[in-house]
Subunit: 308 residues, 2 copies
C-alpha cells in the first residue's frame, strides 16, 4: 500500500537518484535524499537540474537532505539508485527506512538486484525499475539531463499490481514517462541486449556507440553478441520479441556518438558494474544450459580492466 | 651470395629500420636508407641514436639517404622494415633494387610477409627476421632504443644457409645480437604466442602488459589465448616447446609496465597490423582445421578499432 502522500526516500543520489527524486519533489512529493559527497553543497545550495524537459531548481530550504540514513523518516517507498558495485551497503542503508509495507524500487542496472533485495528484505517489497536516460552529474548539486528519461517498472515475480499503478502515476504526473511491465524479466533482458554489447565493447575499447557500428565488422560483432543475449534470455524462459536485435541496432544508429555510462565510469576511474550487467546474466544463462561465448570474453576483459 | 662488402638497402626507415641500419652503418657497412617524412631532416642533420647499448651519432656527411628508390643503387641485401599495412607498396619499392641474387630480409611483424615477398620476387631471395626490441622514434632523425635489440633470422622454407650465416655475422659484429633459426616458422609462431595476447588485448583495452597479468582473471585470459595460438601453430605443423606459455608469462612479468608498439600505434592514430598479426594466423590455423575463438574475437575487435 502506498499512501496518498507517501514518504519517498532516495538512496544513492547520484545523477539518476538526484534527477528522479528532484522531479518528484518538484511536483509536490515528499522526497528525502540520502547524500554522501554532495551533502554539504546540496544542503547549502539545493539542486539545479538542466534538463531537456525543462530546467528547474530546488532551493535548499525546500529539500530534505541527510548525510545519515538513521536521521531519515521511515519511508513508504525507497528508490534505490546505488551502483550495483555498492550493493554490500544495502542492509545498513535500507533497514532503518523500513516499516511493515515499505516498497523498494530499484533503478539499478543489470540482473540480480531485485533478487538480492528480496533475499534481504522480502520479495513482496520489491519492484524493479529500468531507467532509459542520458544523464550526468556536473559540479556538486548540478545534474545535466541530456536525453530520454523514461522508466519502466515491474513487480518482482508477479504482474501489475495497484501499488505499481500508483507509483507509475506518481512518475507520469511528475514529468517522468513511466511504463509498467507485465514481466519485469522481459524488461531486464531487453535492456541487457543493448547494454552488453554497447557498454561492454564501448568500455573495453573506449569507443562510442557510433564507432562500434560504423563498419560491417562492428555491426556484425554487435549483432552476434546481441543474439547470444537473446538466446540466454530464451534459455531463462524470457522470450524477447522477434526483430529486437535489428531494431536496437537501428535505434542506436539514430543516436549518433554516445558514450555509455560504463565507458564514462572507466574514463573517470570509477567502479564499473561488471557483475550485474555481465556476470549475473552469464550465470543465469549458464545455469539454464546456454553459454554466451562472446559475452563471456567481454566479461573476462572487463574483469581485467576492473582489477577483479 | 652476399659479397664481402654488400650494398644494403633499408626500406621503411622508421625506428626499426633506422636503428638496425644505423648499427650496420656505424660498423662500416655500406648502408642506403630510403626515407619518407624524415628525409630532409636526416639529409641535413644525420641520425642520432640513444641506445641502452651505447648512444651514437651518424653525421649527415657519412650517410646515404634517398627520398626515391629509383635513385638508389641495386642492393645485395634489402632489409624491409615497412609496416605490414603498407605491403601494397612492396612491388614499387623493391623492384628497382633487385639484381639477380639480391636477398630480401623482412623484419616485419606477423605471418604472411615472407610468402608475399616470395610470390612477388621469388622464394630463393627471401629471409625472415624477427626483431625483439623496445624502440621508439623521437623527433625527426632521433631514435630511442630502450631495451633488448636481438634479432632472429631464418630462411624461408629451408634450413640455415651460408648466406644466412653471413648476414648473422654482419649483425653480430655490429652490436646486434643475431640468432639463426633452423625453422623460421617456429620463430614466427613463438613471437605470435606473445604478440597476440599482449598486442591484442593491450591495444583493445589500452592497457600495458603489467595490467593485463596483474590479476588471476587477466593471467588466465592471457594463458588461454596463448594456448590457442600454440594449438594453431601445432595444427600448422609447428611444434612449439613445452612450457612456452608459462615462460612467456613469467618473462612478461619481469618486464614491468610495457606498452606494445601496437598500443602506441592506436594511441597515435597510426594504422595497426591487424591482418599480419591476427588475420593471417587465424587463416592459417583455420585452414589446418583449428579455430582460435578468443583470437578471433580479439581480431574482430581490432577490425572495429581500425575501421576495417
Amino acid at each position: 500500500m502506498i499512501p496518498d502522500r507517501p514518504v519517498i526516500a532516495i538512496i544513492g543520489a547520484g545523477a539518476i537518484g538526484g534527477y528522479y527524486g528532484a522531479r518528484l519533489a518538484q511536483h509536490g512529493h515528499d522526497v528525502h535524499f540520502l547524500l554522501r559527497s554532495d551533502y554539504a553543497s546540496v544542503k547549502a545550495n539545493g539542486l539545479r537540474i538542466f534538463s531537456r524537459d525543462g530546467d528547474f531548481e530546488l532551493p535548499a530550504s525546500s529539500l530534505h537532505v541527510y548525510d545519515d540514513v538513521r536521521k531519515m523518516p521511515r519511508a513508504d517507498l525507497v528508490i534505490i539508485c546505488l551502483k550495483a558495485t555498492s550493493n554490500h551497503l544495502l542492509p545498513e542503508l535500507i533497514t532503518p527506512l523500513l516499516h511493515e509495507s515499505t516498497a523498494l524500487l530499484t533503478l539499478q542496472n543489470g540482473l540480480g538486484n531485485e533478487e538480492l533485495l528480496a533475499q534481504l528484505f522480502g520479495q513482496e517489497r520489491v519492484i524493479g525499475g529500468l531507467a532509459f536516460v542520458c544523464i550526468n552529474r556536473g559540479e556538486s548539486g548540478v545534474i545535466h539531463h541530456m536525453d530520454h528519461g523514461q522508466i519502466r517498472i515491474g513487480e518482482l515475480g508477479r504482474p501489475i499490481t495497484p501499488r505499481l499503478q500508483r507509483i507509475s502515476e506518481m512518475f507520469n504526473s511528475s514529468r517522468v514517462r513511466c511504463e509498467m511491465l507485465e514481466d519485469l524479466r522481459v524488461g531486464r533482458w531487453t535492456k541487457l541486449v543493448w547494454n552488453i554489447p554497447f557498454n561492454g565493447l564501448g568500455t573495453i575499447m573506449n569507443a562510442e556507440t557510433d564507432k562500434l557500428i560504423a563498419t560491417d565488422a562492428g555491426t556484425g560483432l554487435v549483432r552476434e553478441i546481441m543474439t547470444e543475449v537473446v538466446a540466454g534470455a530464451c534459455a531463462c524462459g524470457v522470450n524477447l520479441p522477434k526483430g529486437l536485435v535489428e531494431q536496437q541496432i537501428e535505434r542506436t544508429r539514430s543516436m549518433g556518438a554516445y558514450r555509455t555510462s560504463m565507458q564514462i565510469d572507466r574514463q573517470l576511474g570509477r567502479p564499473i558494474e561488471v557483475e550485474a550487467i555481465f556476470g549475473e546474466p552469464l550465470k543465469a544463462a549458464s545455469k539454464a544450459g546456454v553459454e554466451m561465448p562472446l559475452v563471456r570474453t567481454i566479461y573476462r576483459m572487463l574483469q581485467v580492466l576492473s582489477g577483479a
